[in-house]
């Protein structure tokens, strides 16, 4: 079927596990993130031109692409670093405003993140975000809830955002502190 006439049915392909590494230059305070397939995330600081990079954290993560099972179109999602559920922390934020509108309909807002620094890395296009949203809605079997995915560019201040980032990190304390 020609791609342009296809009502795509997406499936996840090319799933590859690795780490999302966040590092900071102690010379200029720039923060950078990247995905690595190494079995152990790097710990060493290193120099790159004027930058002296130090690892801040590494989170287990994965990469994937989407493929239409009908027309075989493949959408590469190399620019996607992760997803975060908006839990509503700032009613002056565009994402929170959208959440307030959509939450009563049980439409949950997720923010798609690209890699840092934003101005130096290619970011997810609106078209790719729409495809990602379509994919997660297609995985649902009932209409009791829907997913809405927006760009991180819509978040007012990511540094103070309390959204729930889906990542395998800081989950080792299996019993709440107050219960120990």
């Amino acid at each position: 079927m020609p791609e342009e006439k296809c009502a795509h049915t997406w499936e996840m392909i090319n799933v590859a596990y690795g780490f999302v590494v966040t590092e900071k230059c102690y010379n200029c305070d720039k923060v950078s993130t990247y995905f690595t397939f190494e079995h152990r995330p790097p710990l060493e600081e290193y120099r790159e031109g004027d930058h002296f990079w130090n690892v801040m954290e590494s989170a287990q993560s994965f990469r994937f692409d989407l493929k239409c099972s009908k027309c075989s179109k493949v959408e590469k999602l190399d620019e996607l670093m992760g997803l975060m559920m908006c839990t509503g922390c700032d009613d002056t934020c565009e994402v929170d405003s959208l959440r307030i509108i959509l939450e009563p309909e049980r439409t949950w807002i997720y923010v798609a993140f690209g890699f840092l620094p934003v101005e130096e890395r290619k970011q997810l296009s609106k078209e790719k975000i729409a495809i990602l949203e379509e994919y997660f809605n297609q995985r649902r079997k009932s209409l009791r809830s829907r997913i809405k995915i927006v760009s991180h560019e819509s978040v007012k201040n990511i540094a103070t955002c309390y959204g729930e980032v889906i990542k395998d990190l800081h989950m080792l304390s299996l019993t709440p502190l107050e219960e120990e």
Partner: protein, 111 residues
């Protein structure tokens, strides 16, 4: 199978509000990455994880309910977030393996 039937037959603790839902299979993992890649909608998810992040992962792929196994305590923050997003959290002192065996025993199968 209905979620309430599973709660009753397996004597599960109900930690959140629990609306009626269908359960069409079981998913077992303690990695959120696995949930995002492999869990199917309307499955029941067995895990020892209790972090608030389990709510965002379960919601993304429309899990029917989470069963926290091995008697792990779930914080009030996780319960509150789950209630807000209609994610059902159940718990049991039994191991993940024991619960999985019991789920098979009452007729819940993998999709």
């Amino acid at each position: 199978m209905k979620i309430q039937e599973i709660i009753d037959k397996l004597n599960l603790n109900v930690l959140t509000n629990a609306e009626e839902r269908e359960v069409e299979g079981v998913f077992i993992s303690d990695m959120l990455s696995d949930v995002m890649t492999s869990a199917k909608a309307e499955e029941i998810w067995l895990t020892v994880q209790t972090h608030t992040n389990i709510v965002s992962a379960a919601n993304l792929v429309d899990i029917s309910a989470i069963i926290v196994t091995q008697g792990k305590k779930v914080s009030q923050a996780t319960i509150d977030l789950a209630n807000r997003y209609h994610v059902i959290i159940l718990s049991s002192p039994k191991t993940t393996f024991a619960l999985a065996t019991e789920l098979i025993g009452i007729g819940v199968k993998s999709q």
